[in-house]
Point group: C2
C-alpha cells in the first residue's frame, strides 16, 4: 500500500468533528477505496481544552490553524473554520503557500476569494476542493464539473438553505406566520448567529455563485447575485400560491442570457408538482439543465455533521486517488469575467398588494401594468374587513425592468395601501 | 495544450451518434474542460452505408469493431454496440488486450462479465468506465464511488427502467389496463426487441447488480438479483395502493443484511409522497442511503441520445483528465464474493387475491397468515359481481419465507380463485 494521505484539520466544530469520526470509524474502508490510508496528523481550533466527544490524543495540536500548513507530516489541509477573512483565509493561503492541497466547506470564503485562491492553487499545481460548501452532502459540484462535463449547462437552480426551506414549508404546513416560525427556528438553533445570512439569502447566494462559476466557466462573482430574502413572504402568499398550483421557495437561479449572466436568489413560485415544489423541510435540492442531459435533480441533506463530513471526505478521497482538477472545472485563467445581465429573462410574476378601497383603484393598478406592456393572466381581489383590499395578480411573461417600472407607476397612483410584493414564477419543465 | 485523447467509437446507433454529435458540437468546450482536445479517429458499425445524420467523413472506418483496438491512433475505445456476447464483448476484450482504456454504456455485458473485465482492465492499468450503463444521464456511479466514498452505503434503490415506469404511471393516470399500455408502449417503440428485458426487470436488474457492486464493494452478481416483472400489476392494484397512500414502482433494492446480500428488482409499494412515489413517466431515479450522508436522491433521464451520450462523455472527460479509478471503486481483487441472502429483510406486504364466495373463506385465508406468524394490518373485501371476491390484505412486517409459506398454505385451503399476488411495501424514511 502506498503512502498515507496525512490530514491537518483546521476547525473542530460540527464538520471538523464529523470528519474525524469518519476517519476513526471507517479507516479501513477509506484506505481500500482511496488506495492508500487516510490519516490525521494534526488538528487546530480555538480552545484546546474543549471536550469535543472524539479522541484527539493521537493528533498533534496547533494553536494557530495556519501553522498546520507548515508541518511536514501534513499533505492536505482541511479548512473547517468558516468565515470570509481571518483564520480561515489565512489557513488556506498558508496551505497553498506551503504546497499543500486544500479541502474546504467554506462557501463564504470561496464566494468572495474563490477566484484568487483558485488562481494561486492552480499556479502551485494544488487541489482546492469545496464540495461541502454547496448543498452539504449532495455531490453536486462533482456532478456538474465531472459527470455533466459533456453538457453546455443552460440553467442551474437550487434550494440550498435548509433553514429557509424549513421556515417556508413549516409556515405552509402549520399555517403559522413568518415571525412565529422564524422564532421557532431560532429556538431550535437552526439559524446562523447573524440570521440575515440565512433568511436574507446570503448563504444560499454564496453557494449559487460557486455553482454558477463551475456551470458556466466564469469567475465567481457573488456581487452579481441579486439577493432577496424570504422576510416578505406571508402565509397568505403561500396559500394563494398553493391555490394556483405553486409552492414558494427561496430559489437560486443562474442562467446565461443574451445580455449576460443572470443570477438571483429570491423567493420564487415553482410548480407544486415539480421536484422543487415537493421539497419539504430542511432538505436541499439542486437542479441542472444541460443541453444533452436535460434536467438532472439532486436531493439530500444540505447541512449537519454527517452529510457535510461526507462531502468533505469525498473530496479527500479524490485527492488521495490522485484526481487533480481545476478548482472550477476549467483552469482559473480561462474562466471568463462574464458581464452581469441587468435584468433576468422575462417570466411570469406573482404580485401581491393592498389597495385602498376606492372606486377605480383596481383599474388604476391594472393600467400601470398595461402601460408597461405587461398583460395580466389572473387577478383576484380578496374579501376584506378593513378599508384595504388585498389584491393578487399573476402576470404573463414580463421583463423585470418593465415590472419595476409598473410598480413605480403604481406607487404614484395613490391607491396603494402597501408596497407591492413581486415574486418571480420560475418556469420549470414538467 | 497536451496530446489529444483519440477515440475509437464502436457502434453508431442512438448513443454512438449522440457521442459523435457532442464531440462535433462542443469540441472547444470539451478541450477546455478536459485540458486536452478530445478527437475521434475511427468508428465502426455493421452497415457502412447507412446515413446516420452525422458527418463521418473525417473518421477512419473499421468493419470489425474489435479492430478499433489495434489502431495506433486510438487511445480509448467507446463500446456502444450492446449485448452480452459477440462484438461488444470482443471489442472490449480487444481494447484491454491492446492497452486501450474503455468506456461503455453496456449494462448487459458488465452485469455478466463485469468482474472478469474489471480484473483484466485493472491488471493492465486501464480504465473501464460505465456511467451510461446505469440510469442513463444521471451521474450515479460517480456519486456512489467518488462523491459518497466516505459512507458505508446501507441501501441502494432505483427506478431504472423508464419504460416500466412509463407503463405503470400511464396505467395510473389514464386508468388503462396493463395490456393496453404495454401495446401502446410497443407502438411508440419504447420496448426492447425482447420486451422481457424491460417488463421482466432484466435490464433494470443488470443496472442494480452494477450499482450494488460499487455500493458494497462486492463482485457483480446479476444471478443474485431476484427478478419479478410488472406483468402482474393490475390497474386495481395501482388504485388500491393509491388509496392507501402508495405508488407501485418497479423498484430495485440492494442491501447488505445480516444474512448476506439482498438484491431484488420487483414491483414495490412506495409512499406516494416520497420522491420515488412522485416519479412519473420515463424518468429514472436512484436513491442512496449512507451512514453519514443519509438519503441522497438523483433524478434524470435514464435513456435517449442526449442523456446517454452525456454520461459517456463524463467518463471520457474523466479519462482525458487522467482519472484512474478501480472499475467498481475498489480494486477488483478486493471485491468480496458476497453470500446471497436467501430472503430479504422483513417488510410489510400487499397481497391481492380472488377467493371463492363461500362462508368462512376469508377466515381460512387469514388463518394461513396467522399460522405463518404474520399479522394483518388491513384487510378489505371488494364488492363483486361474480362468485369470486377480490380481497386485499396489507400485512405487518413479515419475512418473505413466512409469506411464501402462508401463500402455499392458502393454495391448499381450496378457497382461492386466483393465485395471490404479493408486492413488498418498501419502507422509505419520510
Ligand atoms: N455545520 C454545517 O452543517 C455546515 C454545512 C456546510 C458547510 N459548513 C461550513 O463548514 C465550516 C465549519 O462549520 P461548522 O458548522 O463546523 O462550524 P463550527 O461548529 O462553528 O466550528 C468552527 C470551528 O472553527 C474553530 N475556529 C474558529 N476560529 C478559529 C481560529 N481562529 N483558529 C482555529 N480554529 C478556529 C472553532 O474552534 P472552537 O471549537 O475552539 O471554538 C470551531 O472548532 C464553515 O465554513 C461552514 O460554513 C458547515
Ligand atoms: N439507447 C439508449 O437510450 C441507451 C441508454 C443507456 C444505455 N444504452 C446502451 O448503449 C448501447 C448502445 O445502445 P444504442 O441504443 O445506441 O443501440 P443501437 O441504436 O441499436 O445501436 C447499436 C449500434 O451497434 C452497431 N453494431 C451492432 N452489431 C455490431 C457489430 N457486430 N460490429 C459493429 N457494430 C455493430 C449497430 O450497427 P448498425 O447501425 O450498422 O446496425 C448500431 O450502430 C447498448 O449497450 C445499450 O444498452 C443505450
Amino acid at each position: 500500500m502506498t503512502q498515507p494521505l496525512r490530514l491537518g484539520i483546521a476547525g473542530l466544530g460540527t464538520v471538523g468533528v464529523g470528519v474525524i469520526r469518519m476517519v476513526q470509524r471507517h479507516g479501513e474502508m477509506l484506505a481500500t477505496r482511496a488506495g492508500r490510508p487516510i490519516s490525521i496528523s494534526a488538528v487546530s481550533a480555538r480552545n484546546r481544552d474543549k471536550d469535543r466527544g472524539v479522541d484527539l490524543s493521537g493528533y498533534a495540536w496547533e494553536d494557530n490553524a495556519a501553522d498546520l500548513a507548515a508541518r511536514d507530516d501534513v499533505d492536505l489541509v482541511v479548512e473547517l473554520i468558516g468565515g470570509i477573512e481571518g483564520s480561515a483565509r489565512e489557513t488556506v493561503e498558508a496551505a497553498i503557500a506551503h504546497g499543500k492541497d486544500v479541502v474546504t466547506a467554506n462557501k463564504a470564503l470561496l464566494a468572495i476569494h474563490g477566484h484568487d485562491l483558485a488562481t494561486k492553487a492552480e499556479a502551485a499545481g494544488l487541489a482546492l476542493r469545496f464540495e461541502a460548501a454547496v448543498a452539504g452532502g449532495i455531490p453536486c459540484v462533482k456532478a456538474l464539473t465531472e459527470g455533466l462535463a459533456g453538457n453546455k449547462i443552460e440553467r442551474v437552480m437550487g434550494v440550498m438553505n435548509g433553514t429557509c426551506n424549513y421556515i417556508l414549508t413549516r409556515m405552509e404546513s402549520a399555517g403559522l406566520p413568518y415571525e412565529t416560525v422564524f422564532a421557532e427556528a431560532n429556538d431550535l438553533g437552526y439559524l446562523e448567529a447573524d440570521p440575515t445570512l440565512d433568511v436574507g439569502g446570503i448563504d444560499a447566494g454564496h453557494k449559487l455563485a460557486l455553482l454558477a462559476a463551475a456551470a458556466f466557466g466564469i469567475r465567481v462573482d457573488f456581487d452579481a447575485v441579486r439577493l432577496e430574502g424570504i422576510e416578505r413572504v406571508t402565509i397568505d402568499d403561500i396559500t394563494h400560491a398553493a391555490d394556483m398550483g405553486f409552492a414558494i421557495k427561496l430559489l437560486g437561479v443562474a442562467q446565461l442570457t443574451g445580455r449576460g449572466l443572470d443570477m438571483r436568489m429570491s423567493p420564487c413560485l415553482v410548480p407544486l408538482a415539480s421536484p422543487l415544489g415537493q421539497l419539504h423541510g430542511a432538505t436541499n435540492m439542486v437542479v441542472f439543465e444541460g443541453d444533452a442531459v436535460g434536467q438532472i435533480v439532486l436531493r439530500g441533506a444540505g447541512a449537519g455533521e454527517g452529510p457535510t463530513a461526507s462531502a468533505v471526505m469525498g473530496d479527500i478521497v479524490d485527492i488521495a486517488r490522485g484526481l487533480r482538477l481545476p478548482v472550477f472545472g476549467v483552469p482559473a485563467d480561462q474562466l471568463r469575467a462574464e458581464t452581469r445581465a441587468n435584468t433576468g429573462a422575462p417570466s411570469p410574476y406573482y404580485l401581491r398588494m393592498d389597495i385602498l378601497d376606492k372606486p377605480g383603484a383596481l383599474a388604476k393598478i391594472a393600467a400601470c401594468l398595461g402601460e408597461a406592456g405587461i398583460s395580466i393572466d389572473r387577478m383576484r381581489q380578496y374579501d376584506h374587513a378593513d378599508t384595504n383590499a388585498p389584491v393578487l395578480i399573476v402576470t404573463h411573461k414580463a421583463g423585470r425592468t418593465e415590472l419595476d417600472a409598473a410598480i413605480e407607476a403604481m406607487a404614484r397612483t395613490g391607491v396603494l395601501a402597501s408596497e407591492p410584493v413581486a415574486f418571480r414564477i420560475e418556469q420549470i419543465g414538467e
